[in-house]
């Protein structure tokens, strides 16, 4: 490595990256999403996907679900930094793949093609409870809910059957059983 001429130290060794799902409960007020997103961009953290909506209109609480990657140290920092924001009530964090947690993403898929192609497309999606939201002589709009990588695969598979447009949400998460996020 070339000798650094920086006043700052050289970057240390990079640790192993894990993917985590971070759930944040915030006051639903102006700018709160910008605060959370700004914290990620300002500190160089990565946002893979983001889903946000109000879940408690009475108390004005929104739930933000963020999928992010980082070393264990970075993930810890993300949680602590989020916890410092004034409108943040609580922060929960899970490894992606945690068996106790359900993760789901939704995708809308538009397929344009003849009847046979459209039928085949529907068949490909079968495993993920496809719902036909719109149908014409030459097109169909499907809704599926699945994991991110499953949707990735389906998108690949549908290409040959005339997939022309995809719209996807970020992941949302919930614990299995009677437990709730603490």
């Amino acid at each position: 490595m070339a000798k650094s001429k920086s006043a700052y130290s050289d970057p240390g060794k990079k640790g192993k990256l894990d993917t985590h799902v971070i759930v944040v409960w915030v006051d639903n007020e102006a700018g709160v999403l910008a605060r959370v997103a700004g914290l990620f961009s300002g500190r160089g953290y990565n946002i893979e996907s983001l889903a946000v909506a109000e879940v408690d209109p009475k108390r004005g609480i929104s739930r933000i679900t963020i999928v992010t990657t980082g070393t264990p140290q970075v993930i810890e920092q993300i949680k602590l930094q989020l916890g410092k924001l004034v409108p943040v009530h609580k922060v929960a964090d899970f490894m992606r793949g945690d068996k106790k947690i359900i993760f789901k993403e939704m995708a809308l898929l538009k397929v344009v093609g003849n009847t046979s192609k459209r039928k085949k497309a529907l068949k490909v999606c079968k495993k993920f409870n496809p719902v036909v939201l719109d149908k014409t002589q030459k097109s169909v709009v499907l809704q599926i809910t699945a994991l991110r990588r499953e949707i990735d695969i389906i998108m690949g598979d549908l290409k040959k059957f005339g997939l022309v447009s995809v719209s996807r949400t970020g992941a949302v998460a919930m614990t299995r059983g009677s437990e709730i996020f603490k």
Binding site: S6, S9, D10, K13, G31, A34, R35, L80, K84
Partner: protein, 588 residues
């Protein structure tokens, strides 16, 4: 029906309830209703700065020297953008500031109106929190919340943006009661178990060190008293960060001096070789740790901090203790006294070898420099300033650069809140306005800004503020005509290519002082220095002191970047001995 107050009146009602005595600010279109209201509130004095950045730094100097939050009042647009540097500075150094900014009327927000900017958007990353008040009914609640956020937990700046129409609208005001219970973000959540574990680690250690920082100062004067007691009952050595100077007496035998990039040889080597490091209110900043992978490899590390996100951020620690420094130390002392009354005695044997090693490092005398009888050495100037002012309760502010490091090395502080310097952000131009704020808080004390000629020119206009309010601040400029630290790095790292670091056409500082209506003094030789410094101290007016120093002096010792603590560059004496030339310098 209870009385209705205008938004502007509510701003002052809140400030009165928060016991605000001074506002540092600058008027403009979008805050005129608030400025109009000023005349009705005798208890609050407005200090008119000459630039919003100056107002912000003055509020920081005020806050740091007296422990109360500094209040800044600026207008919309350029008023708000000018204060951003001061807000960021306060954010980095954890200084409580409450900034109130005017905004264009609500119906014009988003229309690119005259002097409109997205103030809350711009200041979001440099405040603990900020608010845009869109309803006058929320105003009082928001301002009180702003004071609470700024002063609790790890302190920091906040901003309340108030559109002009809100300042005119009317609402009720209910008197504010200070909540006893602080908000959930204050995080005092350590337990007796943590303390017991710490004492266990302390009694097993043979090479311990305390590494203390600005958190001790921020925790209040009691924390510094407790720290002194803790050091005396443990007999451990202590080193301090730049921000922590003054929390422990600088001339005490257990004090190893400042650590870090320009810290002493003994402090940095002790940090590297220790087996137990107890960090109290410091944050393992990169100027402290040097190369992270080789930072203090043999030690167990304990970190006491009120901000949980400071722990394990840069350096993984073995025992985190989240809490207010003052409370943690108090319980620590109490427990030691109760459970280990003989701690000091047993510990003396444990650490005797360690102290011998420290004595060896000390004998290197790393702050030494080669003095001259022809030119004033900057270190010598600070030493003389210290000797001539140490018997007064002197407050020192600095700008940023070599002079700042020399001040930290050679001026010995023995009380907290006497040392105001921009450490985290490293803001050139901080010291002069900060001195204004310090002098406001302590009108009868001696306030000296140890400055460089380049830094001080960035906020020189604030001399006019000092003159307006008869603030006898002393601007002690170590004038080497270079941006000294830039020049030093260029000498050591960039083959002496002094690219743009020399300031030609500097003003005549003595005449400049006279132009501002204050006193100018110039010292050119070492033998006239004492007499001139005394003259500066005796004048009851603001002074600009132009101290012409050696132009090529470098600041040592120095940990080259990317190096661990035990590979320091020492001063010129050492370089002759070790021949750190050519090749060695490229390692910097």
């Amino acid at each position: 029906m209870s009385k209705l107050y205008s938004g502007a009146e509510i701003v002052f009602k809140c400030m009165e309830d928060q016991k605000v005595e001074f506002i540092f600010g600058y008027p403009g279109g979008a805050v005129l209703p608030i400025y109009d209201e000023l005349k009705n509130h005798d208890g609050i004095k407005h200090i008119l700065a000459r630039h919003e950045q100056g107002a912000g730094h003055a509020a920081e100097g005020y806050a740091r020297s007296c422990g109360k939050p500094g209040v800044v009042l600026v207008t919309s647009g350029p008023g708000a953008t000018n204060v951003v540097t001061a807000l960021t500075d306060a954010y980095m150094d954890s200084i409580p500031l409450v900034c109130i900014s005017g905004q264009v009327p609500t119906h014009l927000i988003g229309t690119d109106a005259f002097q409109e900017c997205d103030t809350t958007g711009i200041t979001r990353p440099c405040t603990k929190h900020n608010w845009l008040v869109k309803d006058v009914k929320d105003l009082a609640k928001t301002i009180h919340k702003a004071f609470e956020v700024a002063t609790t937990g790890r302190p920091g700046p906040v901003l309340v943006d108030i559109p002009k129409d809100i300042q005119f609208q009317k609402a009720k005001y209910t008197n504010f009661k200070k909540q006893k219970k602080l908000n959930g973000k204050s995080n005092n959540r350590f337990s007796q178990k943590d303390i017991d574990k710490l004492i266990d680690m302390m009694s097993k250690s043979n090479q311990p060190i305390f590494y203390t920082g600005g958190g001790v100062i921020n925790s209040g004067p009691k924390a510094s008293e407790k720290l002194r007691e803790l050091i005396s009952i443990t007999g451990f050595p202590i080193t301090s960060t730049l921000q922590g100077l003054g929390s422990y007496p600088g001339d005490d035998s257990q004090f190893l001096g400042m650590l870090g990039m320009h810290g002493t040889y003994e402090a940095n080597n002790a940090m590297h070789d220790c087996d137990l490091m107890i960090n109290i209110g410091a944050r393992f900043d990169d100027r402290i740790t040097g190369k992270i992978d080789e930072f203090s490899p043999k030690s167990k590390k304990v970190h006491i901090d009120i901000d949980p996100s400071s722990i394990n951020k840069n350096v993984k620690v073995d025992l985190p203790i989240v809490g207010d420094v003052s409370d943690v130390i108090s319980l620590l002392i109490k427990t030691i006294k109760k459970n280990k009354p003989n701690f000091l005695k047993s510990n003396k044997e444990n650490t005797s070898k360690w102290w011998e090693q420290i004595a060896k490092w000390r004998s290197v005398n790393s702050l030494n420099f080669i003095n001259s009888d022809k030119t004033i050495k900057p270190q010598f100037a600070i030493q003389r300033l210290y000797e001539l002012t140490k018997n007064k309760d002197t407050f020192i502010t600095t700008e940023v650069g070599q002079h700042q490091m020399w001040a930290a090395q050679h001026y010995k502080f023995d009380k907290p809140n006497r040392w105001m310097t921009s450490g985290g952000l490293g803001t050139m131009g901080y010291g002069l306005p900060a001195a204004v704020g310090v002098q406001i808080a302590h009108p009868d004390k001696l306030v000296v800004d140890i400055a460089g000629e380049a830094s001080v020119l960035m906020t020189m206009q604030e001399m006019s503020t000092a003159v307006q309010y008869s603030l006898p601040i002393k601007i002690f400029i170590l004038n080497n005509e270079y941006m000294g630290m830039v020049r030093q790095w260029q000498e050591l790292l960039h083959e002496k290519n002094y690219s743009e670091s020399y300031t030609a056409a500097l003003p005549d500082f003595v005449k400049l002082a006279e132009a501002y209506g204050c006193v100018g003094i110039r010292a050119k030789t070492p033998d006239e220095l004492d007499q001139k410094i005394q003259e500066m101290i005796d004048v009851k007016k603001p002074v600009i002191f132009d101290c012409l120093v050696d132009k090529e002096e470098n600041c040592f010792p120095m940990i080259p970047s990317g190096k661990p603590h035990n590979q320091m560059l020492l001063g010129p004496n050492d370089q002759k001995k070790n021949k750190i030339t050519g090749k060695g310098k490229t390692l910097v």
